[in-house]
């Protein structure tokens, strides 16, 4: 078998990444671009990017992008999609963005069953602001604002927001995947394709949570951080389909 190295149509060329070595964001970006090409959606796609390390996603994405204030992505996506239902609309958000400051927007866009897709990058920290505790930070995990480790009695417990919204009738597809291995990457691509197709079919809201390494703030090597995703993060955040209502009638 000959290995092919193709460049996705909707990924910009000749740009130098700002992401740290081993960061999951770049991998998920490429997956998104590939899926948009395979489903032939890039020409009518609008991505709502977050405040977070992916705020610069438009440097790489070669389709239309609008930035959001921290946490407000799904409200903006709601405005875009309701105004132009013919466009393909998705948000790309971090764990702080989606499950701390943007919790209300997340819950209510999901509960309205907006016909949008949400890509949720869970790296268990606030990457962009330097590694503070996120709602998803694991128990005992050290961050700059939990220097002795996250104490659930003091700091609360890791928040499982995807499980929360998966219960809503308006949420058609929810899956948690991990960027931890070639298999994980393939599964992530499949999940994102399922979410995107859900919108194309007019079925409603979908959310894909991606467990994603942040070697810089975890203070681990890229290789170790991939291992940490598989061995540690998945014990708190188990992988799999959380809801699939695609075959539901009406």
């Amino acid at each position: 078998m000959k290995l092919k190295n193709t460049w996705p149509k909707y990924y910009k060329r000749d740009v130098v990444t700002h992401y740290c070595p081993g960061c999951g964001h770049g991998i998920v970006h490429r997956i998104v671009a590939e899926v948009l090409e395979e489903l032939d959606l890039g020409g009518r796609a609008i991505c709502v990017n977050p405040a977070g390390c992916a705020v610069l996603a438009y440097l790489y994405f070669d389709f239309d992008v609008i930035e959001s204030a921290h946490g407000r992505g799904t409200a903006i996506a709601t405005g875009v999609k309701r105004s132009r239902p013919d466009l393909f609309v998705f948000t790309y958000q971090g764990d702080g963005d989606l499950s701390a400051i943007g919790t209300a927007e997340t819950i209510h866009s999901a509960n309205r069953g907006e016909n949008i897709a949400v890509i949720f990058i869970n790296n268990a920290v606030y990457g962009m602001t330097g590694g503070q505790m996120a709602p998803t930070t694991l128990i005992d995990m050290k961050t700059t604002t939990t220097p002795a480790g996250r104490d659930p009695k003091y700091d609360g417990y890791p928040l499982h927001i995807t499980e929360v919204v998966a219960q809503f009738p308006g949420v058609v597809y929810a899956e948690r995947v991990a960027i931890d291995s070639p298999t994980g990457i393939r599964k992530t691509k499949k999940a994102i394709a399922a979410a995107f197709q859900t919108q194309v079919d007019g079925l409603g809201y979908s959310i894909i949570e991606v467990l994603s390494p942040c070697p810089t703030n975890w203070k681990q090597s890229p290789v170790d951080s991939f291992k940490w995703v598989s061995e540690v993060m998945t014990t708190e955040f188990p992988l799999g389909v959380l809801t699939d209502k695609r075959s539901r009638k009406g």
Binding site: D62, F63, V65, E67, E105
Partner: protein, 355 residues
């Protein structure tokens, strides 16, 4: 066109629909609930979008999304909710996106009360949110003007690619008057900049993040040039009996209506009082005031606040005339008699000086 008897809150909605607004997002708050309710019924009937959002924050961000696609979009609220929208208004300014935001002001600070007030003048005219920006602000003083100015606000928003604020209060929102509405708009302006998917063309992005400080500075100065144009071309005010006036009232919105009653009253006793009513609060009719100060030396500022527009009057008059301020904050609505007493008293100062 037929005259209809309609409340201010409903008039905001009807005028917006006639101006081609196709997306309304809002969260209930008194005293502007009738506006959202009107949209729930009529916006959807007109084929547009109405969403009762989970918060004012969500509503303004839905406005951002709809405006980014080129739609005419609107949200409305009252004071506490407008505070929540400020982050989004700052983003609209940064993105250079048009939108219309209605504030039906109530007493504050905090939850305050649900009575009419003018306590949000600073917030409205100084940008309100973070960063170096301005928003045009219209202050209607009748339900007819609510209709006309709301219609106009969408044009200004599109022409200058800026959020525009309609600054009103509970009195304006609740009261009913006969109104002749503008005709429904036939053709909306083309918006080349709107996001609609790249198609076969180059991709585009809309962002307010500009990490390069020199580039950010250029963006700031670009906005300033736009604001300068608005200041040059879009100032509106109503002069009322000013030609022979020796004492001039400055008041806007509800307060201006009450002041009109007071001026009519004192004129009967030979008091030569007039009024300059700012219709745009930003840009403020600075030049008109400065010109008046060459001739008139006594001004009275009436507000339903502790003195906010007062500062703009002080700036405009630049020490060239005396200013007396009378304010009723907290939701108290003053009466024409109350204002007329003040005008009599201040007028005596003028006539004494003359002697």
């Amino acid at each position: 066109m037929n005259k209809v008897f309609i409340s201010g809150n409903h008039a905001f909605g009807e005028a917006a629909i006639r101006a081609g607004c196709s997306c309304y997002f809002g969260y209930p708050i008194t005293p502007q609930n009738e506006l959202g309710e009107y949209m729930a019924e009529h916006m959807r009937a007109a084929g547009g979008v109405f969403i009762q959002s989970e918060s004012e924050t969500a509503a303004i961000n839905m406005v951002i999304g709809a405006a980014a696609t080129g739609a005419r979009a609107m949200t409305s609220s009252s004071s506490p909710g407008i505070s929540l929208k400020q982050e989004g208004i700052s983003f609209l300014a940064g993105f250079e996106l048009p939108a219309v935001i209605v504030n039906v002001m109530r007493g504050g600070p905090g939850l305050g009360n649900i009575a009419p007030s003018q306590g949000d003048y600073f917030q409205a005219t100084r940008g309100g949110g973070h960063g170096d920006y301005r928003t045009p602000v219209f202050a209607p003083a009748s339900v007819q003007e609510i209709a006309d100015l709301t219609y106009h606000a969408f044009d200004i928003a599109d022409r200058y690619r800026t959020p525009v604020m309609m600054l009103s209060d509970g009195m304006m929102g609740q009261m009913k008057e006969p109104v002749v509405f503008p005709e429904k708009i036939k053709e909306l302006p083309k918006k080349e900049w709107a996001l609609k998917g790249r198609g076969d063309g180059p991709s585009r992005y809309m962002c307010s993040l500009i990490l390069d400080v020199m580039e950010m500075e250029r963006h700031n100065w670009k906005l300033v040039r736009k604001y300068a144009e608005i200041e040059k071309d879009e100032v509106r005010y109503e002069p009322y009996l000013i030609d022979d006036a020796e004492i001039i009232v400055i008041a806007y919105g509800t307060t201006a209506r009450i002041a009109k009653g007071a001026i009519k009253r004192v004129r009967k006793d030979g008091v030569r009082a007039g009024m300059l009513r700012p219709i745009t609060l930003w840009p403020f009719p600075k030049k008109a005031l400065a010109e008046l100060s060459a001739r008139v030396k006594q001004f009275v500022v009436f507000e339903m606040s502790t003195g906010q527009m007062l500062e703009d009057v002080q700036i405009a008059l630049a020490g060239k005339a005396d200013i007396m301020f009378h304010g009723r904050p907290g939701g108290v609505v003053p009466t024409p008699i109350e204002f007329s007493r003040i005008i009599y008293r201040e007028y005596q100062k003028v006539t004494k000086k003359d002697k």
